[in-house]
């Protein structure tokens, strides 16, 4: 199971994208999100796809990893496609069924919307594929630093996030174990009707939650014994360095947004 979990797994190829400042990558991804939201035509989509492919290739990570990253969301993409087909009534009628008709406009905007989703998910994987979680956290702390003035504590937030991410595979594994234990006692989730499945999930949630609390307690002991004190000053292991390349990287996304806007 954990081998399927690509989320948060760094793939080291030593490309120049790996070496970018995590703050630049985070900012880039936010701008990319904005650009993708603005994509509304075939030409803009083609441009965004070309842009994405360029950077994906630049990471020297095989493209199949990006495809894998987007795969878990295929149902959502089909859903988005279907909603567009069902609701948009522009262009020519292709097919009519009772009071509903499929229009060319629906088909094309469905395709564009689903592709946008696919691009977004696979492209943002660049962030986790090329950055260690620690660097990512530090980058996030850097991006959030301005909010310190309004009382936000970036270091606490990012520590919380990194521990949560760190424990996802561990807790998934534990869940798998409990599922197997329940199956061994005759309650196999796979063979139950839907309503029973819901009930079973509740009885799964309780031990998993209890287990997570127990882990949290032990983790706290371990952190305390290593001298962690909330709010105490800390130095940082990773050093962030903003270079000219980072500036160009961010600017390329600004250019993408501008181009997408022109091709609307």
């Amino acid at each position: 199971m954990r081998n399927k979990l690509l989320f948060g797994r760094r793939i080291d190829t030593g490309s120049w994208v790996h070496g970018l400042d995590p703050r630049a990558k985070l900012t880039g991804m936010l701008l990319y999100l904005a650009a993708i939201v603005l994509v509304g035509s075939w030409r803009a989509l083609a441009l965004a796809a070309l842009f994405s492919l360029t950077y994906m290739t630049a990471t020297r990570i095989p493209l199949k990893y990006y495809v894998k990253a987007a795969k878990p969301l295929w149902a959502l993409m089909v859903f988005i496609f279907a909603v567009q087909c069902l609701t948009v009534d522009r262009g020519q009628v292709i097919w009519r069924l009772g009071s509903w008709a499929l229009y060319t406009g629906g088909l094309s905007s469905g395709f564009i919307a689903a592709s946008r989703m696919a691009l977004l998910v696979s492209f943002t994987a660049i962030l986790t594929f090329t950055t260690t979680p620690g660097l990512l956290n530090q980058g996030l702390a850097g991006v959030l630093a301005p909010f310190q003035r309004i009382g936000l504590k970036p270091q606490r937030l990012t520590l919380m996030m990194s521990i949560a991410l760190r424990f996802i595979p561990t807790i998934l594994e534990e869940t798998q174990k409990i599922l197997k234990a329940q199956a061994a006692r005759g309650a196999d989730l796979k063979e139950l009707p839907w309503r029973e499945k819901g009930r079973m999930l509740v009885s799964l949630l309780v031990p998993v939650t209890v287990g997570a609390f127990r882990r949290a307690e032990e983790l706290v002991l371990s952190m305390e014994s290593r001298g962690y004190t909330i709010g105490a000053p800390r130095t940082e292991y990773h050093r962030l360095g903003w270079s000219r390349r980072d500036t160009w990287f961010v600017l390329s996304y600004v250019a993408l947004i501008a181009a997408v806007l022109m091709l609307r």
Partner: protein, 280 residues
Amino acid sequence: MTMNSTGLAYELQQVSFSYDPEHPVLSDLSFSIPQGSWISLVGPNGCGKSTLARLLGGLLAANAGTIIVEGTPLLKETVQQIRPRIGMVFQNPDNQFIGATVEEDIAFGLEGRCLPREEMVERVHRYAEKLEIGHLLSKHPSELSGGQKQRVAIAAILALEPGILIFDEASSMLDERARGELLAILKEMKGSGRYTMISITHDADEILASDRAIVLHKGGMAADLTPRELFGDEALLDACRLIAPYGIRLLNELRKRGIDLSAESPKEVADAIWPLYSNR
């Protein structure tokens, strides 16, 4: 090692602890641990060993009595100053892995010490090499075995350069081979003479390798003796639910039958036994 005037790592004076007054977990414990020695804390499950470890580590405060660490009483005001002297390794290798990679996990405590980056990098690599995990620095915990994770935990603690190390059943979730490797690490650490070590354990080999065993029973101290004495005392072993290593059991049985051999390691036991056969 920084020596204090007493030469004691720990001095406990009538220490008691309970989560609620009706059910004391530890009562009236008094003993001392000289610096540089290796103590095994043994006893059946639920006798208060882990609680004692937490008291010694400054993670819990005693209800009564005094714990003196390297000459300084452990109090609310001094705990922040004493804690850096103490490193703790816990039972579950997963639940003490804080970082997302081996490197970040070892660095976690160092960041809290506010060390300059160069020194952090140097210590991370030095202690990773020492525990033979240098090639695993970029790995995520889910890619490591239990024994490797426990090595990371030890490296993370040693990198903080404490004088006192507490192992709370650190080997109990490991397989036989990893356990043997951990024991070798402990022996090497003891040999370096830089650490006072306290290990809570049910592992006979680990107990045997230590200098002294403190036996807890129902929250009180049942005995304070050498491992050899412990393994010679069947009533005590039974009370602790311990089984002596095979070689020692064999020697005990032989002694009961009037053959007294002195031997330490399995090889010595074998060497002492075979002449008995060949003389027949």
